[in-house]
Structure formats: structure tokens, C-alpha cells
Amino acid sequence: MSRHADAAPTAKTQTRSDAILTCRDLSVEFTMDRGTSTVLNGLDIDIERNEIIGIVGESGSGKSMFASALLDAVVEPGVTTGTITYRPAEGREIDVLDRSDDQLQQLRWEDISMVFQGALSSFNPTLKLRGHFVETLEAHGYDVESGMERTHELLSDLYLDPGRVLGSYPHELSGGMKQRALIALSLVLEPDVLVMDEPTAALDLLMQRSIISLLSALREKYDLTMVFITHDLPLVTKLADRIGVLYAFELAEVSGTEELLRSPRHPYTRALLNSTPDIESPLAEMQPIEGSAPDPVDVPPGCPYHERCPLATADCAAVKPAMEAASETHDVACHYWERVPDEIDLTTEVSR
């Protein structure tokens, strides 16, 4: 991709010390009648062992594609390019995008597991929950008895009554119970990485927040690495160690959560924070983001955000900004990241 041609060595191009997943130049393209649609454009990101990373973006920013790409599960006719390297705690590095179907089957669920948004459609409506767990264990050649013991423990960890849940059909459970049961199912084969795409979006706030608490506890207990993909920035700040902001199929900013909230460097991240309804910040100061996100067939040249950005110059329209390190733990793709904090006020008060 063109951005590599002139990019100076930056924090992003070196592999972090203990990355469990390393993505380099990860792209997904769909060829359609209207033209080629690039729904993920040259992502470079390291996911560290045992961290929870939040990936935040609006609808149509490519965040679900990123989730699918991590498991090489992009639907036809999408084409995934670049590399994803998975480093298990023991054993050799694995190139995720270069595996046979059988090998992929093993990688999914056993190493990298995924929870999708609609729990309803993830379960077979004619099969009791027990059947789903048994089927999953058998399909991967696991011992069913010890697997079910683990199931009981996982369900209890998620504040569910194992006896009742396993004996129920999916429709007999509430949305929140189903979603938690699905999280338990995704963990039953002891994966290292759990990728979640909007796992709480269809639930109400109390259940969302409760699940966030439970996920934190699960990470500690089972030494998990989590990738939490959402449009809801305030929700993920309660959970994530680091946050990556996606805009128009590219990463705009990646930073430690606290640093991102205190001093966001990308104008888009600032706009996103300022537009978030928040229960504690002063009412008068929430501002919607002007304009709309670009069409994947027709992403503007240069910085993809320049058409909506108050700081945009002719440079922004011509030259795509490279990821630069604003600090050791903070990377941003903006030509003017040094000026941004002075030029764009942050109206949302970050409370402690």
C-alpha cells in the first residue's frame, strides 16, 4: 500500500514484545458491479497477550470485517490479504491466512473463538443448550465429561444456573441469558483469544454493563486475550486496556484507554467523544459529527477524514497520513496530531 512507501519507521511497524496476534497490511476487498469495495484497508496492529483491546467505529467503518478477518472467516467473494500471525503460548507461530480448511477449523474455537452479535441466530432452535455444548466438544474431539464440568463452571461464572440453562431450548431463555450462554460456549474449548463483535448490542444497558463486568472477571480467571468490537465507546472504556478507533476502514488512532480519553490526538476521535451522550458531562456541550462516513467504493484520497475535519488542509486531501507514535503507547494517523489538542476542544469531561 502507498502509505508504506514514505512511512518512516514507527512504533507500528515493529512487533510488540509479547503480541499474540500480529496483523500486517490486513485488507479485505469485495469486487462488485459498482467497483472494488475496500472494506478494510491495510491495518497494522498488534494484539498483546492477555490484554483486552476495544475496536471502536461507526456502522460501515469496517469493524465487523476486522473481526471476520481475524479468523479468516470473511464471506465470499471477499478477499483477505496481508498477514495475521498467531503466536500460541507454546509451539510455533501460525499464519492464520495460510491454513487449510481443516487447520482453520481447529484454529477457530480451540485457539481463537468468536462471539457474534445476534445470540438468537447462533443457536439451533430445536436443540437444547446441553446439545450445543456436547456437539461442540464432540466435533473437536474433546472429552465430553470433563468438558461439561468446565461448562458448568463457565455458566456459574456468568451468573447462570447451569442445570436450568442446559435443560432449556434457546427460546426459553432471555436475550441476556442467551448471550451469556453463547460466551460460555465460545470458551468451552479453552481458546486463548476471544473475538467479540458487538456482543452486547441487542441487550439493554444493565445487561450490557453486567456482561462487561463478567468479561473482566473471565479474563483474569482464564488468562484470555479479548478483542471487543463495538460502536459504543463509553461501554468499552470500562473494559479495555487499549482502544483502536476505526474510521473508513483504517485505524485512525490506537492508544491506552486512559490516554485516549484524556488526550485523544485524532480529530475524529475527538469528534466521537464530543458526540457521545454521557450522563455526567454538561448537557450543552454534546455535538453531533457533521457529514457522514465515506462509501467503501469511493473513499476520498489522502486522509479519509479530511472532508469532515475542521483542520483539513490541501495536504490532507493529497497525502495519506502514516501512523505516528505520539507516545510509547499511543499511535495516531494525522498530519497535525501535535496541534490537535490545542485546536479542537474536548467538551466531554473525563471523570475519574
Binding site: 454493563r209 472504556t237 450522563i279 448537557l283
Partner: protein, 361 residues
């Protein structure tokens, strides 16, 4: 009809749904108590936001307020006229039912499915005008529609009027739904999760528009949401009220600012905890409820319905139902024994996992 009557007044409203029983013929039908004993007045030019979890009955309450759901008992009146009496024949109501129907409008959660995909925006908007304002000619109708589209920021209006729903974004569809409701010159608009399906960044924009139109047209709003921060945004901006529903009961109601600054019901505090804020914390604390899941509304808990989850519940809460009482400001009402200083609650044994002075986390 008098000017002092609230637009809509609900008193002692119960709404029960009978569910078809199982195949077992000896089992009677089961009843879901969706709304139980709710009193709520909505005066002119007022904004009321109702929050609650899924299954708390907030949508059913909203539908009852605009006359779309008949209460099992209790009354719903529009400017003093009982809505369901007006609908009956030969009752000679002071306000005809058709006028009531027109005055109470609704905006749904999913803007996509509330518009006919085969009709242009203009055709969708003209339909209700044709039915209701028969005196308008085609040119006047078009002029009104274009003016309203422009009013909600859909410019150029000629271009938008010719579009089909699939050519609109989610926010634009919701604007069309809002225009359709406003063309009826309503006195009350029920907005049921009207911004929940929109992207976070768009919600503020649509809520701002609702507020602006609320002020410009003197329409009352009943805004229903599971999201306390959206409810707060709308209610506080309009200087309105905030109500909290739990398992069919309105457990707390008061000025939005007062309820949020000084929540009295433990459930309101739980909702406040659950509302994402951009604060930085060490790590998420445990949920301040003893049970994560809402109980089955077919068989709601005895006494105070929140006692199975409440961190402060005692034996007294299990046996007795708290009355609604005023706290602090006159309009702030709450149903909890903890708001009564001389309640037996304070001498009762806490339930398992609960305590009288559970830390407010």
C-alpha cells in the same frame, strides 16, 4: 374539555395479557402483568422520559398513553375525555375519537420498517394528509410536505421528497417518521426507542431535532428508552420529567435533574451504574444487584417486586408492597421503604446477600 386538563392522564392503569396456556388442558391461562397501577399525567408542552429494562412494560405503558393499548382496568383520558369511551359507539364523546387518534402520534424504533419501501417520501407523507385534511389541494399538500422536510433539515426538500426509503440513511428515515407524525399537528408524540437503532454519533442530532420541534410546535413528548443517558439528554434539555419502570410499576418519577442527581429507588441507582460514562476507573465493579436477570413477569415477586435483586432488601420487602410517596421536591415520587424513616423495614432482617447499608458502589 378544559384548558387545565392534561393532554393525557392515566390513572390506576393495569394492563394484563393472557398468554395461551401450554398443551396441558388442566393448566389455566397465564397472565402477564405488563403494567400495574400506573398513574401518570402528561400536561401540555411537557416531556416525559421513561426508562426501564427489556420486559419492564415501558412500551406497553407508552402505547396505553397514546390510546393504542386498552387498559385492563383504570382509565386513560385525553383532555378529560376517556379515550376508550370515545371509541365506543353511541357515547357522544366531548372529543370525537378521530380527533383523539390524530392528536396522539407515535414514532417507532425501527425507522426502516415504518416506511413503505415502494413509496417515495412524498407519497408516504401525503397519505395521512389526504385522509385527515381533506380540504387541502395537491399543491398545498406538496407545499406543506416540502416545508416540513426543509424544517427538519432535509434540504433540498424537492430532492428528498422524490427519494425512496432505501435511499435515505437511518437518521433521515427517522426524520421522515417525525415529519409524518408532526403533519397531524399532534398534542403528544410517543417516541418509543426512537434513537436506539441509530449510531451513537447520530443520536444527539436526532434528539436535538426532536427538542427543537417540541419547542416550536408545543407538542408534548413521551420518550421511551432503555438508555438512561438518552432519556436524560432529552428530558433535562426540555426541563421535563424522568420515570423509571420496573416489572410493570413506575417505581420513581420526578424532575429529570432531581431524579438523576438524587436517585431514591435502589433500582434507579442500578440503572445509573449501568449507564456508560466516559469515566476512567480501575476496573468494573461487580453489578450492584443480587441477580442479573429480570424475573419472569408472569410470576412477579411478592411485596416490592425488586426485592429479589435489590442489594438492600429485607424480609419486610418480601412481604409488603411499598406505597408511592413524595421525597424532597413535591413532584419527586418513589416506591421504596427506604424513603420512609419510620418503616418497619429498618428493623427487618436483610435477605440473603443483601444488607441495610450495602455500600453504594
Amino acid at each position: 374539555m378544559s384548558a387545565d386538563d392534561p393532554v393525557v392522564s392515566m390513572s390506576g392503569v393495569d394492563i394484563h395479557f393472557e398468554m395461551d396456556g401450554t398443551l396441558n388442558p388442566f393448566e389455566g391461562p397465564r397472565t402477564v402483568q405488563a403494567v400495574d397501577g400506573v398513574d401518570l399525567d402528561i400536561p401540555e408542552n411537557d416531556v416525559v422520559a421513561i426508562v426501564g429494562e427489556s420486559g419492564s412494560g415501558k412500551t406497553t405503558l407508552g402505547k396505553a398513553a397514546v390510546g393504542l393499548q386498552q387498559p385492563s382496568s383504570g382509565t386513560v383520558t385525553f383532555r378529560g375525555q376517556d379515550i376508550w369511551n370515545a371509541k365506543k359507539r353511541f357515547t357522544n364523546p366531548s372529543i370525537p375519537y378521530s380527533e383523539i387518534r390524530q392528536s396522539l402520534q407515535i414514532i417507532h424504533q425501527d425507522p426502516g420498517s415504518s416506511l413503505n419501501p415502494h413509496r417515495t417520501v412524498e407519497a408516504s407523507l401525503a397519505e395521512p394528509l389526504k385522509t385527515v385534511q381533506t380540504e387541502l389541494g395537491p399543491e398545498d399538500r406538496e407545499a406543506r410536505i416540502l416545508a416540513m422536510l426543509e424544517r427538519v433539515g432535509m434540504t433540498p426538500p424537492h430532492d428528498y421528497a422524490r427519494r425512496y426509503p432505501h435511499q435515505l440513511s437511518g437518521g433521515e428515515k427517522q426524520r421522515v417518521a417525525l415529519v409524518r407524525a408532526l403533519l397531524m399537528n399532534p398534542d403528544l408524540i410517543l417516541a418509543d426507542e426512537a434513537v436506539s437503532a441509530l449510531d451513537v454519533s447520530l443520536r444527539v442530532e436526532v434528539m436535538d431535532l426532536m427538542l427543537e420541534l417540541q419547542g416550536a410546535f408545543d407538542t408534548s413528548f413521551l420518550f421511551i428508552s432503555h438508555d438512561l443517558s438518552n432519556a436524560r439528554y432529552l428530558a433535562e434539555h426540555a426541563d421535563g420529567r424522568l420515570g423509571v419502570m420496573y416489572l410493570g410499576e413506575l417505581v420513581e418519577l420526578g424532575g429529570a435533574e432531581e431524579v438523576l442527581r438524587n436517585p431514591q429507588h435502589p433500582y434507579t441507582k442500578v440503572l445509573k451504574w449501568a449507564t456508560p460514562s466516559l469515566g476512567i476507573e480501575e476496573g468494573p465493579a461487580e453489578p450492584p444487584v443480587r441477580e442479573i436477570d429480570i424475573p419472569d413477569p408472569v410470576d412477579p415477586p411478592s411485596g416490592c417486586r425488586f426485592h429479589t435483586r435489590c442489594p438492600y432488601a429485607t424480609e419486610h420487602c418480601r412481604e409488603m408492597t411499598p406505597d408511592r410517596r413524595s421525597v424532597g421536591e413535591a413532584s419527586h415520587r418513589v416506591s421504596c421503604f427506604r424513603s420512609e424513616e419510620d418503616s418497619e423495614y429498618w428493623h427487618s432482617d436483610p435477605l440473603e446477600g443483601a444488607s441495610l447499608d450495602a455500600d453504594e458502589r
